[in-house]
């Protein structure tokens, strides 16, 4: 296997007490040596990292790879190319595919394609209920044996409280986390954006924040009742953050992720962009106080990790009337830029927090070995360029879909290189191979 030298960067791995300028020699898929002025003689490839930050590889636990069945939106090859371009060494993919990933055979199919075509690691998640219909439990144990890292009915959340309670009790014995897209569909009422002043001015049906909050409250309480690990996906509202903070203080086994769009945007964007459907996602971006609560939660540690909810859609599904457009935006290729530009540069979180939120903690949540900058560890590494000023361009994206509201944004900070299993997969935002 080839060798790689990452030279002169600032190594930052708070979980292992690493913060030093050093060279990293990668050989045979692992970090062979960390030291000063390591020789590049005989090394196949050198990544210049002077002035850059070398971090344990980033992991996104909320990605839609659309395989099987919706490969016209994204497939495992393009989705993982987008991941490594965005600085991620691994992704957990959601089971709301066609058919739903609710059995071991489909899990194995995803794993097989990922092994053949993936640019990075892919960890499938499985459905909670058969077909994500919210009625009968899926074969959770069989799927665990086939390699799933969590269960979720993302997008079609379990409505029945008793079904959810039993699913939690059942999942707990397999040590599986339940990831929940918290939405009471009755309260959401077919809305297309956040319910509030802006939806009122635009004459669009709104989804009140309570549509998320009542399910968050239910989940926190059921987690206390059952002891099962519930993970709240893409938190969007102030009261949801407060409910989770309360639950954690009460000892509930609850964790939570936030997306770059929820910590960056508010519902004003729908008006500013004049009904552009790339502002339509579920849960929707909400008001300034909601965004602030998410920033506070990221700063004080209430929020465990950053995940993108990368949700590619075909242009034909987005170039329609707002109400008719699909929910969701892509996120893998803008996440690191937004985290640096919007969170690290303004001092909302530190670089150390960024590494925990995007690498160490998400790995722990899905129960995989956390990437580490120590000799002998698997070489899953993300190199960051904190000073790079760049413009988000649709035509440069590796994803099959370009449905993001951030096209045209100028950001400071970018992923510089991605190393997956010892192989350089991306440098200067260009995917290799």
């Amino acid at each position: 296997m080839s060798t790689l030298l990452i030279r002169g960067g600032r190594l930052l791995d708070p979980a292992n007490g690493v913060d030093r300028v050093a060279d990293v020699l990668v050989a045979d898929g692992v970090i062979a040596r960390i030291g000063d002025e390591l020789s590049s003689v005989g090394v196949d490839r050198v990544v210049e990292a002077r002035g850059k930050v070398v971090a344990p590889g980033f992991i996104d636990i909320h990605v839609h790879l659309r395989t099987p069945g919706q490969e016209y939106k994204e497939d495992i090859r393009t989705g993982t190319a987008a991941a490594v371009r965005g600085g991620f060494v691994g992704v957990a993919c959601m089971p709301n595919t066609s058919p739903v990933i609710d059995n071991a055979v489909t899990v194995t199919y995803v794993n097989t394609i990922a092994a053949q075509q993936g640019h990075c690691k892919v960890w499938p998640t499985g459905a909670i209920t058969k077909g994500s219909k919210g009625a009968e439990l899926a074969e959770i144990g069989e799927m665990k044996a086939a390699g799933i890292v969590a269960i979720t009915d993302d997008g079609m959340p379990v409505e029945n409280g008793e079904t959810m309670r039993q699913a939690m009790i059942y999942a707990k014995q397999f040590n599986l986390m339940i990831m929940d897209h918290c939405e009471d569909k009755h309260l959401a009422g077919g809305g297309a954006m956040h319910f509030g002043k802006v939806s009122s001015l635009l004459g669009l049906k709104g989804m009140p924040a309570a549509a998320e909050e009542v399910q968050v409250a239910r989940d926190v309480l059921l987690s206390m009742e059952t002891g099962a690990h519930i993970h709240i996906q893409h938190v969007s509202s102030r009261r949801s953050v407060e409910l989770i903070r309360w639950g954690k203080a009460m000892g509930a086994n609850v964790t939570v992720e936030a997306t770059p769009h929820h910590f960056t945007l508010t519902d004003e964007i729908v008006m500013e962009m004049a009904y552009a459907t790339n502002t339509k996602m579920n849960p929707p971006v909400r008001e300034a106080a909601d965004r602030q609560a998410i920033l506070d939660g990221l700063r004080d540690g209430t929020i465990d990790c950053i995940a993108t909810d990368h949700a590619p859609h075909h242009v034909d599904e987005k170039e329609v009337e707002y109400q008719a457009a699909k929910f969701g935006i892509t996120g893998l290729e803008t996440a690191v830029g937004l985290v640096i530009d919007r969170l690290v540069k303004p001092g909302i979180i530190t670089l150390e927090q960024m590494v925990r939120l995007m690498s160490t903690r998400p790995a722990a949540l899905i129960g995989v070995q956390a990437p580490a900058l120590v000799e002998g560890a698997a070489a899953d590494i993300t190199v960051l360029d904190l000073e790079k000023v760049w413009t988000v361009r649709a035509e440069e994206m590796a994803s099959k879909s370009r449905n993001t509201p951030f096209v045209g944004w100028e950001l400071t900070g970018a992923p510089h290189a991605t190393v997956v299993g010892g192989v350089l997969k991306m440098e200067e935002m260009k995917v290799m191979g």
Binding site: F195, K197, L201, Y275, D316, V320, Y322, Q323
Partner: protein, 310 residues
């Protein structure tokens, strides 16, 4: 007369008072054509437009059609049931096909808010919003404003009470956006389940008590109870609605004696408005209809006539 410096008429929220003044002045100048024996000006000869209606309409569609005919434009009308939309064609494809046939403007009514904005991005032709979902109905807002201006002279300081289902009403939104720009005191009143969020931030007074809104009002605009839009249990019965929020002669005694009574039509007599009020001395409901033709003539003239109008 200078033309409008915009391609499309999507809503009153994004328009300036200068633009609205120009439209209303133009409508005033064109209005008397409606009452002439020979109702025809050659102004828009050789121009064509389509009325593309994804929702039923009689008044607005026919008003646009006549407005164009009085100015010698050619128009065709497409209703959703008779179009290829029923065969699954997208909005953009439908409009691009019409544009390829050479039309200069699309007048569209659509059940989804923002649909005209979406269309306008994709067409070189002008787009006139004839009502988009719960969002705006700018030509109705303009004709209401024209009616008020003709009778009251100006908008500043007038108390305008808009009564009914504000939440679902594009008419209410266009009136609110237009009138507040001129410093009118706009009140909206209706059941709490039919009041929209955030209107207070526009300087609008919001109340559930219809009497409070009517007290000393110069203008009373009663909205149609859109029974077809009531998908959930937002009020128990039409009878209860009528009892608490219906407008009739007794309640109208709270308004100024010289108030104007308006309604965008079609009326549900005995529900949101009593016949005695609708047909009473203060009613300007049919004037609104005439002004509707005038406003639509003005918009077609300003958008299609350009600088080389006859």
């Amino acid at each position: 007369m200078a033309g409008l410096k915009r391609k499309d008429i999507l809503g009153l929220r994004e328009m300036s008072t200068e633009e609205i003044d120009l439209i209303l002045d133009t409508a005033d100048a064109l209005k008397d054509i409606v009452n002439r024996p020979i109702k025809k000006l050659p102004t828009l000869r050789g121009k064509s437009y389509v009325t593309l209606f994804y929702e039923n309409s009689t008044r607005t569609a026919k008003s646009f059609e006549l407005a164009g005919k009085y100015l010698s434009a050619d128009s065709i009308n497409i209703a959703v049931a008779s179009s290829s939309v029923a065969k699954g064609e997208t909005l953009v494809d439908t409009a691009r096909n019409l544009e390829a046939m050479g039309i200069d403007a699309v007048v569209m009514r659509h059940p989804m808010g923002g649909a005209p904005h979406f269309l306008a991005k994709h067409l070189k032709a002008s787009v006139i919003n004839a009502g988009d979902g719960m969002h705006e109905h700018p030509t109705q807002g303009l004709l209401d404003m024209l009616t008020i201006r003709q009778r009251k002279g100006a908008f500043k300081g007038l108390k305008v009470a808009i009564i009914g289902d504000i939440f679902h009403s594009r008419v209410a939104r266009s009136n609110v956006f237009g009138l507040t720009k001129y410093g009118a005191e706009v009140w909206v009143a209706g059941p709490s389940t039919l009041l929209p969020a955030g209107f207070e931030e526009l300087g609008v007074k919001v109340t559930t008590r219809v009497e409070e809104a009517l007290e000393g009002a110069d203008v009373v605009n009663v909205l149609r109870l859109q029974l077809e839009r009531q998908e959930k249990a937002l009020f128990p019965t039409v009878a209860e609605y009528s009892k608490f929020w219906g407008v009739g002669p007794e309640r109208l005694k709270l308004a100024k004696p010289d108030h104007l009574l308006m309604h965008p039509g079609p009326m549900n007599r005995g529900v949101e408005i009593a016949t005695a009020a609708a047909d009473g001395a203060q009613s300007v409901i049919l004037e609104q209809v005439t002004n509707g033709v005038a406003v639509r003539m003005a918009l077609l003239y300003l958008l299609l006539g350009g600088g080389d109008a006859a």
